[in-house]
């Protein structure tokens, strides 16, 4: 996974949790601080950082870090 560790850093930074604490397969509702507002910040930061745009139809399934990484891999 080319971008996984970079994505983990960004997400952990926004959620204000140590990166090693972030389980890439954990559902967002089981991850501390991951609320809707921070989810929007995560999505927009990743879009900006990787110069991509998440297609509307795919966002629904982006419920953990692994899914975000897979999606970004697909879009790059």
């Amino acid at each position: 996974m080319k971008y996984l560790s970079e994505i983990k850093e960004i997400v952990a930074g926004i959620l204000q949790i140590p990166v090693e604490q972030l389980d890439v397969n954990a559902n967002m509702n089981d991850v501390e601080n991951w609320d809707s507002l921070r989810n929007l910040v995560i999505l927009s930061t990743l879009e900006e950082h990787f110069e991509i745009q998440f297609p509307d139809d795919d966002i629904f399934d982006l419920t953990n870090v692994q899914a975000l990484a897979d999606e970004i891999e697909k879009l790059k």
């Binding site: 967002m28 609320d35 629904f60």
Partner: protein
């Protein structure tokens, strides 16, 4: 009569007797029926009593969407205590207890003596139009009528299944939860809106019929899930919007996606609770905030300002200083300007408040200005700035020559010092040569946004 001061407790007692096996609360894998709910509330009352809490004592509750919070919330009323609701995300020190300890107590018999209907039972904190949020004092009478008026308008009943997603530390979510339980309906508790997949699965699994949400949450749900919600158009009986205005296009979109659902939008403040309501199928008056929510609520325009009086209007602010200008002729001053049409519909013409709505979180520009000035900026002024994902974010204008810091340094400081409240950090910084103020020296934020 026991609990005669609290119509809310009387309702819960009646539900426990009438619907003992009906599920009252679902939270994750846990389900609590009405008989257990009442029993556990009484156990929590015993726990509080054993720990020395006495009538009129204040208890700060961490408003987590979990059954034990609901037990404590109502248990305080049995003892005539005053509960103060704290956001679980805040650093506020809250009552600590072991849930197993609470549930191992014997149920409390009776209730506190001498408690009156108009005694304060709840303190809620407003976000405030200035940097100092206010503490709102609500009585047993107020909170019951706030829930009842809302329930009657939206037409909630015991057959409904509510998904409670909004925070319950604020009036909006708190009253959604209360009205559901007082009606003998079922409340499914979800931590937040973040995982829309979970929300949709919950709607499907529990056959959810009602909920309340902020317009920002609706925009979020739409962004994440597209039009999937319309699959439940014949299932969802009503939705209540609140906390902010919905753009006209949003109102029309909700009705298009959910044509058979009663879509209500409340107008109110923590102080006045829901005061007016509009139903989105009333297409002729969608520009208005509707009419008073119930017969016991009166709305008048006094000196151009919307003022409210009713069973649900707060008793007072906690700080006597705040009360000095809060009421006029017994009516609570909302700070909003408007007028009432001949048909009785209320229209807002301007908001005295200048809150910035960052993805549903209300941010006081005054508070952010103080944060910025705290690390060596002479003066600044904050306004809203449009943002694709979040709707609005904070924009800061820094008074040129009032600091030796660069805009980048200010940004870095803000992000470092206020990382826990990242939504308060401005996303745009600009220098300004002069801070616009009126003749009284008040900052004129609208002059910069055209809002």
């Amino acid at each position: 009569m026991l609990y005669s001061y609290s119509p809310s407790l009387l309702k819960l007692l009646a539900n426990a007797e009438r619907l003992p096996d009906k599920v009252a609360i679902i939270a994750g894998d846990e389900q609590v029926n009405y008989s257990s709910l009442w029993l556990n509330i009484r156990k929590a009352a015993t726990w509080l009593d054993v720990h020395g809490f006495k009538k009129n004592d204040r208890v700060v509750l961490c408003a987590k969407k979990e059954p034990h919070y609901v037990y404590m919330y109502f248990a305080t009323m049995i003892l005539g205590l005053i509960h103060e609701l704290a956001d679980p995300d805040s650093d506020t020190e809250t009552l600590q207890y072991d849930v197993n300890d609470v549930l191992s107590c014997a149920p409390f018999e009776g209730c506190a003596e001498g408690v009156q209907e108009h005694d304060i039972t709840e303190i809620l904190h407003t976000t405030g139009t200035t940097s100092k949020p206010k503490s709102v004092c609500l009585s047993h009478f107020n909170i019951y009528w706030a829930a009842k008026n809302t329930s009657d308008f939206v037409q909630n009943d015991e057959n409904d299944v509510e998904v409670v997603v909004m925070p319950v530390c604020h009036a909006f979510g708190c009253r959604r939860l209360t009205l559901t339980l007082l009606n003998g309906a079922t409340a499914v508790l979800l931590p937040n809106f973040a995982n829309v997949q979970l929300l949709i699965r919950t709607i499907e699994k529990y056959h959810v019929t009602t909920w309340g949400m902020a317009p920002a949450a609706w925009a979020y749900v739409r962004k994440i899930s597209g039009t999937r919600i319309s699959k439940y158009k014949d299932q969802i009986r009503h939705i209540e919007f609140g906390t902010a205005a919905m753009p006209m296009a949003g109102k029309k979109e909700v009705v298009e996606l959910l044509p058979n659902t009663r879509i209500c939008h409340n107008y109110g403040l923590t102080e006045s609770n829901r005061s007016a309501m509009i139903e989105y199928h009333d297409t002729e008056h969608l520009n208005s905030i509707g009419k008073p929510i119930a017969d016991n609520v009166e709305i008048r325009v006094i000196n151009g300002e919307i003022c409210v009086h009713g069973n649900q209007t707060m008793e007072c602010y906690l700080d006597p200083e705040d009360n000095a200008v809060a009421f006029v002729d017994g009516f609570f001053r909302t700070g909003d300007c408007g007028y009432i049409s001949e048909e009785g519909y209320i229209y807002l013409t301007g908001r005295a408040k200048e809150m910035i709505n960052v993805g549903g979180k209300k941010v006081s520009p005054v508070e952010v200005e103080e944060m910025i000035c705290n690390f060596g900026v002479g003066d600044c002024i904050c306004t809203s700035s449009p943002h694709d994902m979040l709707g609005e974010t904070v924009k800061a204008y820094i008074l040129r020559g009032s600091t030796e810091l660069s805009l980048e340094q200010i940004d870095e400081n803000m992000k470092k010092l206020h990382a826990q409240e990242i939504y308060k950090c401005p996303t745009v910084y600009e220098w300004i040569d002069e801070i616009p103020v009126n003749s009284l020296g008040k900052k004129q934020r609208r002059a910069l946004t055209g809002k």
